[in-house]
């Protein structure tokens, strides 16, 4: 009996060793928890990057937790309250200030200067700046997160539909004006009912407003400026693409079918996309597509659009802060990990040299990848709400703006009706920061 159990143990041990299961881990092994959200493609990409990390740093095991994005904030805050904050977690730029003030996230400044994974001057400055905060205003000072990505939002188009309508896409040196965009969208719109093809999905409000010289807030982010005619005109123009020109789906149709699905079904010719859409479109789009510069406002002749980002923050209470920072840096900047992002069509590399070489040289769509880079280097801006301590004012604007899309209120009526409430919420946010 005794013999048999010994043999059994031996076989089990051998099986474990053969299967690569770390039955006998060397002392000092660490487990780092990492929590994020994402599309199935993003989660697969991160699983690959994590295995690349574990391969390079065998003394660390990563416990990767994914939560649906709608539940993420709830779950994270519950974990923080119960002192079980993940070592590394996703953080939106707009949360850097409250999280840093609460002492929850580690200051990674010294790490950015000196580490084995990357050179800080080879990282998009705009990406790192999203996570800087000097205790007063964002964009300056210490670094509280490393960018998972930088996502310049571009305008994609269905090349086959463009060709059929006899339309040539604009180029960087000769972008369309709003009028040219409208004319093209009208040409592209045809059909009825379920077969209807629209010229464009809803136009980016940021692009329109900024291009027209307006903004939600004033330059130092203390006053709501949505009643400014530059803002109002741009908002009305976006609404009129549906209300007057009928070249974008109605609000009800938008809620019926997501923009992305409409685009891959070939039922809309133009749609705003980010680099994270590339992989999905490779699989889903059965037509040729590319990206083009954003149209310019006739008032200014200038292009404008936002770039987004999600950060990798390191918990201040992490027991292994240096390993956790190292994991964040690896996911953000390691060459293999960045290559995974390219291969899976998830993001453009955070490393400037890789973006300009490896990424631009790939032969998959879009052909005009340079446009993504141009937005980062040239005219891309971070969203206005990432400059404020609490973005409730922005949420209020968005939650009620549908009355403009439906034509129940003009842009002027709407902004006049909501300005005071937004200002009050902005003031509340500013007061919150002071506390």
């Amino acid at each position: 009996m005794k013999k048999r159990s010994a043999a059994f143990a031996l076989i089990t041990a051998a099986a474990l060793a053969l299967s690569g299961c770390s039955a006998a881990q060397p002392a000092g092994d660490k487990t780092i928890t990492f929590m994020g959200w994402g599309s199935p493609e993003e989660i697969t990409a991160f699983k690959t990057m994590i295995s690349q990390y574990e391969h390079k740093y065998p003394h660390v095991k990563v416990d990767y937790i994914t939560v649906p994005d709608t539940d993420f904030a709830t779950k994270l805050q519950t974990m923080i309250a119960s002192k079980k904050t993940p070592d590394v977690f996703y953080l939106q730029p707009e949360k850097v200030m409250p999280y840093a003030d609460a002492g929850l996230i580690a200051d990674l400044s010294s790490y950015v200067k000196n580490n084995e994974v990357f050179k800080a001057d080879n990282v998009w400055k705009k990406a790192l700046d999203m996570y800087r905060y000097d205790g007063k205003s964002p964009g300056k000072g210490a670094v509280y997160g490393l960018p998972k990505d930088i996502g310049p939002f571009t305008l994609a188009y269905n090349k086959d539909l463009f060709d059929a309508a006899g339309i040539t896409a604009p180029t960087d040196d000769a972008p369309w004006t709003w009028d040219q965009f409208e004319a093209a969208a009208k040409k592209l719109t045809h059909g009825t009912g379920a077969d209807k093809v629209y010229g464009s999905t809803p136009y980016s409000v940021e692009s329109a407003v900024w291009s027209n010289g307006g903004d939600w807030l004033n330059a130092n982010h203390t006053k709501v400026t949505v009643t400014d005619p530059k803002f109002v005109d741009a908002l009305q123009w976006v609404a009129d693409l549906n209300l007057k020109d009928h070249v974008v789906p109605t609000p009800a149709e938008q809620s019926a079918l997501p923009d992305y699905q409409r685009f891959v079904d070939g039922k809309v010719a133009m749609m705003g996309i980010g680099p994270w859409n590339q992989g999905g479109l490779w699989n889903d789009a059965k037509f040729n597509w590319d990206i083009m510069p954003w149209p310019v406002s006739p008032a200014t002749g200038k292009e404008a659009i936002w770039y987004g980002s999600i950060g990798l923050a390191v918990s201040n209470t992490s027991k292994d802060k240096s390993d956790a920072s190292n994991l964040a840096a690896f996911l953000a900047f390691n060459k293999d990990a960045q290559q995974t992002n390219i291969d899976k069509g998830q993001a453009i590399p955070n490393l400037v040299d890789m973006a300009k070489n490896n990424y631009l040289k790939t032969d998959k769509a879009p052909a005009n990848k340079q446009e993504f880079i141009r937005i980062i280097e040239d005219y891309g801006r971070r969203a206005t709400q990432t400059y404020t301590y609490n973005s409730d004012w922005f949420g209020t604007f968005n939650a009620n703006v549908a009355s403009v899309w439906k034509g129940e209120k003009t842009a002027a009526q709407y902004t006049a009706s909501i300005q005071d409430e937004m200002q009050k919420q902005l003031d509340d946010g500013i007061a919150q920061q002071g506390k």
């Binding site: 805050q77 309250a81 379920a194 009800a252 149709e253 949420g395 409430e421």
Partner: protein, 291 residues
């Protein structure tokens, strides 16, 4: 012997008691305390600010919109009671096809609510949904069930009613089985009609079950949350679908105002308690207390 029994009793009660203390009393205590602070849920800092939070939400336009929406969630209660009783009586008598109805109506109750909402999103999709496609066949353009402020509440209310008909009929069925056959025999000997038997015997004997169902129905409807979160983005256009629990959740996790959320939650709990007490008081007039 007696001491032995007490020990066993305590042993069995302890886990439940611990559970109640840990997951009920302690959190409620923390919430009450947090309601008087400016806690943001992130830092440990909690400054006592008295009744400020209560003043904040009571003067917040969105709190009142949410309160109005929450009241609308009570609308389906009479409907699901009515149809639940109808279903139970039908199933109880063994009407042909009752098995099919049983499955149809019990299914929503045992399914995951997330799956149900996804299903309903498809049924009520503006362009591709079953309902609007059906209406299109008879030449009617259906409304935007999920996007229009006037219709989103209707959609949620319909779904709650549909979901609760099944569980209502289970309780009513249990109530029906408890009614002694002797009453009906006596009634039949006296020549009472089927309708008379129903209104004079069945319905009065069911009142305890119905009372219980109104209590849990009111509390459950007032706490509607998942439907709102899944059907809408940000509580629906113009906050048209947001309920008080949604408001609390948004304040706690969206705006990092856990103190304010706690105060609202405490207030809301007191309101529910009040409503329930009123129901109990009113119940004396209509609930049959037994022979």
């Amino acid at each position: 012997m007696r001491r032995h029994e007490t020990a066993w009793g305590l042993a069995f009660v302890t886990p439940i008691a611990l559970q109640v203390i840990l997951f009920c009393i302690v959190p409620v205590g923390i919430a009450i305390y947090a309601g008087f602070t400016n806690w943001n849920g992130l830092s440990g800092r909690q400054d006592f600010i008295g009744l400020e939070n209560f003043a904040t939400f009571l003067t917040d336009k969105y709190f009142w919109i949410a309160s109005g929406n929450t009241l609308v969630m009570l609308v389906p209660i009479p409907f699901y009671l009515f149809f639940g009783i109808l279903l139970a009586v039908g199933v109880h008598r063994g009407t042909p096809g009752s098995g099919v109805f049983r499955i149809l109506f019990f299914l929503p109750y045992i399914s995951s609510i997330v799956a149900l909402v996804v299903l309903w999103k498809w049924i009520f999709n503006y362009q591709y949904g079953l309902v609007n496609q059906g209406l299109a066949l008879i030449g009617i353009q259906g409304p935007d069930w999920l996007g229009d402020p006037a219709w989103i509440k209707t959609t949620i209310v319909l779904m709650i009613a549909w979901k609760l008909i099944g569980i209502t009929s289970i309780y009513v069925l249990a109530g029906l089985n408890n009614i002694s056959e002797t009453y009906y025999e006596a009634a039949r000997i006296d020549g009472a009609s089927a309708a008379r038997q129903f209104f004079q015997i069945t319905l009065p004997m069911l009142t305890p079950a119905i009372f219980f169902l109104t209590i849990i129905g009111v509390i459950g409807s007032l706490q509607t949350f998942v439907e709102v979160q899944l059907f809408t983005a940000d509580g629906g256009r113009d906050y048209s679908a947001a309920t008080i629990t949604y408001y609390i959740w948004q304040k706690a996790f969206g705006s990092n105002e856990l103190g304010l959320a706690s105060a609202t939650a405490v207030f809301f709990a007191l309101v529910i308690l009040g409503v329930t007490l009123i129901q109990f008081r009113l119940s004396r007039r209509w609930v049959f207390e037994g022979e």
